[in-house]
């Protein structure tokens, strides 16, 4: 069955310029550098990477919370990257966001009622009575009750607040939700509740998720496809199962090897990466991963790799899988 593409991101770039004073040249930080991916309707697509690799910026740029520097964001057939502010506002009822920190993403001066009615009011949906009904039913769905309507955010626990945040995103019945590390601020026991809630909502409302996370076990549990990001670039995209069983990019391998083992007798080889993540303000030449890569070839220092389709729905940005196959096997054999 061929699924419809809901969102495709083409050559998306987000650069930040940092002024260095009057006479010095500005430093350009390439937070998101030329990334491509597509999300099909109904799937859960994950962006994974270390902190600072640009995954949150990608999410925010797709929702145009920051303006993209370059590239196209095609949502349901229309390019929204150049959409003017007003039209973008009306489109927002179809794409929503769940934020990382449930303590910061709810206005402390607003009651749950006000927080949840606001999206409906802004998009002029329903009359007042129906709005309240909607709010009550959505509260019920996310596991809170009518009783909580007139409470303020500080009266709730982190998990409950995140439920409110999710309710706010879902109440407009959008097609697409970007979840920016929605569970990383929560306790592990609460994490699973919130994740299961999100999966339930996905079934109920036919949602499409872009799930941003650094937690590989969460990603393995709930996503269909994964894109691995490193220093503003996507290094590998694959189906979740595929990626976890058969990672291709050296960085993905290292990342997966860092997942804690679940059983003490389980043996696992750890790949420890050398050095730190380079500054995105001054990324290494060629492939940005080459200084830390144990398989680095000469070409890696000079030329950035292009996306290579390894197999259907599995693509890698690495020279090891391009035309330098012989040299590659040689390098791997001798490492």
């Amino acid at each position: 069955m061929k699924q419809k593409v809901l969102l495709s991101v083409k050559n998306l770039k987000k650069y930040y310029e940092i002024p260095q004073g009057l006479f010095k040249e500005k430093i350009t930080v390439k937070a998101v550098d030329d990334i491509n991916f597509t999300i099909k309707k109904g799937e859960t697509f994950a962006l994974v990477g270390e902190s600072g690799c640009g995954k949150s910026t990608t999410g925010r740029t797709i929702l145009k919370l920051t303006e993209p520097t370059d590239g196209k964001i095609i949502f349901d057939g229309n390019d929204i990257s150049t959409l003017p502010y007003k039209q973008m506002r009306t489109l927002r009822n179809r794409m929503q966001m769940v934020f990382q920190d449930p303590y910061a993403s709810l206005n402390p001066k607003k009651t749950v009622r006000e927080i949840l009615i606001e999206p409906l009011r802004v998009h002029k949906k329903f009359d007042n009575v129906t709005r309240l009904e909607k709010v009550k039913s959505i509260l019920e769905i996310v596991g809170l009750s009518e009783y909580h309507l007139d409470r303020y955010p500080h009266e709730f626990s982190g998990g409950q607040r995140q439920r409110i945040g999710i309710a706010r995103a879902v109440i407009l019945q959008p097609d697409f939700i970007i979840a920016d590390e929605p569970v990383s601020a929560l306790d592990v026991s609460v994490q699973s509740q919130v994740i299961n809630l999100m999966l339930e909502l996905q079934r109920e409302f036919e949602l499409t998720y872009l799930f941003i996370s650094h937690d590989l076990s969460v990603i393995q549990h709930m996503t269909d496809r994964v894109a691995v990001m490193y220093l503003g670039k996507i290094v590998e995209i694959a189906k979740t199962e595929d990626l976890f069983t058969n990672p291709k990019h050296p960085y993905t391998k290292a990342l997966l090897s860092a997942v804690p083992i679940t059983h003490p007798k389980e043996k696992k080889e750890r790949i420890i990466l050398k050095g730190d993540v380079p500054s995105p303000a001054n990324p290494p030449s060629g492939c940005t991963f080459h200084p830390r890569c144990s398989f680095a070839l000469d070409i890696c220092k000079k030329q950035a790799p292009i996306t290579t389709e390894y197999s259907n729905s599995h693509s890698v940005n690495c020279h090891l899988y391009t035309e330098f196959k012989e040299e590659t096997t040689h390098a791997i054999n001798h490492s």
């Binding site: 925010r60 929702l63 919370l65 506002r89 009306t90 927002r92 009822n93 929503q96 966001m97 934020f99 990382q100 920190d101 910061a104 993403s105 709810l106 206005n107 402390p108 001066k109 607003k110 606001e118 999206p119 802004v122 998009h123 007139d150 500080h154 945040g165 706010r168």
Partner: protein, 302 residues
């Protein structure tokens, strides 16, 4: 017992709006009386308000009536509780009437300076860009003048009297509101719940009025309460220097001014108005401190 009552009010299942409001007011008072400095400030403020409202009816003597036969009487003589001044006027009565000047100036200046400063602060913090640069340079320029000097200059230009002293104090004092509100707005607009509003599709205008403004209320109340004390002292200083409220109209500041010549022979002339200024400023500041501790959620204990 108070804890039980609090619990009872909170656990009532179907809470009516009115009840909830009552319990909130009750909570504030329970909280107030737990802090003795806050209570002291509150009592001083209530006393000050009472005196300034009912002053003319509770003075033991006519504050403007001069009796030269009774000049410079020490305290507790001839029915003059705090003595008389160089013209034989009752000091207590003059202080009571003068309280009104202090209160009016303190409150009105804060209202005017606060409103203007808040508007400027919001515009510059929320819209940024060139308008922020222009407004903040104006603030910088004004901040480089000493506050009292600026007030005196403005006062010298527009003349004395109650209305003009309020105007000049407000002109001198709006910058601190502008600066603080701007920094609050700058911090607020980067908060994630504002980003969440943008993601929801709330318009800029609504974000400003529905989300940023309510969050400014707390810092504004706190700053205003602390500034009232500053303005009371500033008014006294300006009146002491011979500007501001003109004699024979009594104000604490010009009572100090008139009494300073007799400081070695008749200490009561300046001591009592001085103490009044200290108490008023102290009371307002104590209350402001308590307000800050209560309203600032970061510092909130329970």
């Amino acid at each position: 017992m108070s804890a039980n009552l609090e619990k009872a009010l909170h656990n009532k299942p179907a809470v009516e709006v009115k009840n909830k409001k009552e319990s909130r007011v009750y909570n504030y008072f329970a909280n107030l009386f737990r802090s003795w400095t806050g209570t002291l400030g509150f009592i001083i403020i209530i006393g000050l308000l009472f005196i300034s409202i009912f002053g003319p009816w509770i003075t033991p003597h006519d504050p403007l009536y001069a009796d030269f036969s009774k000049k410079l009487l020490p305290p507790m003589t001839d029915g003059h509780l705090l003595g008389t001044d160089q013209l034989g006027r009752d000091i207590l009565s003059r202080m009571i009437v003068g309280a009104r000047v202090s209160v009016i100036i303190g409150v009105l200046t804060v209202v005017i300076a606060g409103t203007f400063g808040t508007i400027v602060g919001i515009i510059s913090g929320y819209f940024r860009g060139w308008i922020d640069v222009v407004l903040m340079r104006i603030v910088d320029v004004q901040l480089s003048f000493p506050f009292i000097l600026l007030v005196l200059v403005i006062n010298a230009i527009i003349g004395g009297g109650l209305r003009n002293i309020i105007i000049s104090l407000a002109i001198g004092g709006w910058v601190i509101f502008a600066r603080m509100i701007r920094s609050e707005v700058l911090a607020l607009r980067e908060k994630e719940f504002i980003t969440a509003c943008v993601a929801t599709g709330v318009s800029r205008f609504e974000i400003l009025f529905r989300h940023i403004l309510p969050n400014l209320f707390t810092p504004l109340i706190i700053l205003a309460s602390l500034q009232i004390g500053t303005f009371i002292i500033a008014e006294a200083s300006v009146s002491f220097l011979g500007f501001g409220v003109q004699p024979p109209e009594p104000a604490w500041g010009n009572m100090l001014n008139e009494g300073k010549d007799y400081i070695f022979s008749s200490w009561w002339l300046i001591t009592f108005p001085g103490i009044a200024i200290i108490i008023a400023a102290l009371g307002v500041n104590l209350f402001g401190d308590w307000l800050r501790d209560t309203l600032d959620p970061e510092l909130k204990g329970d």
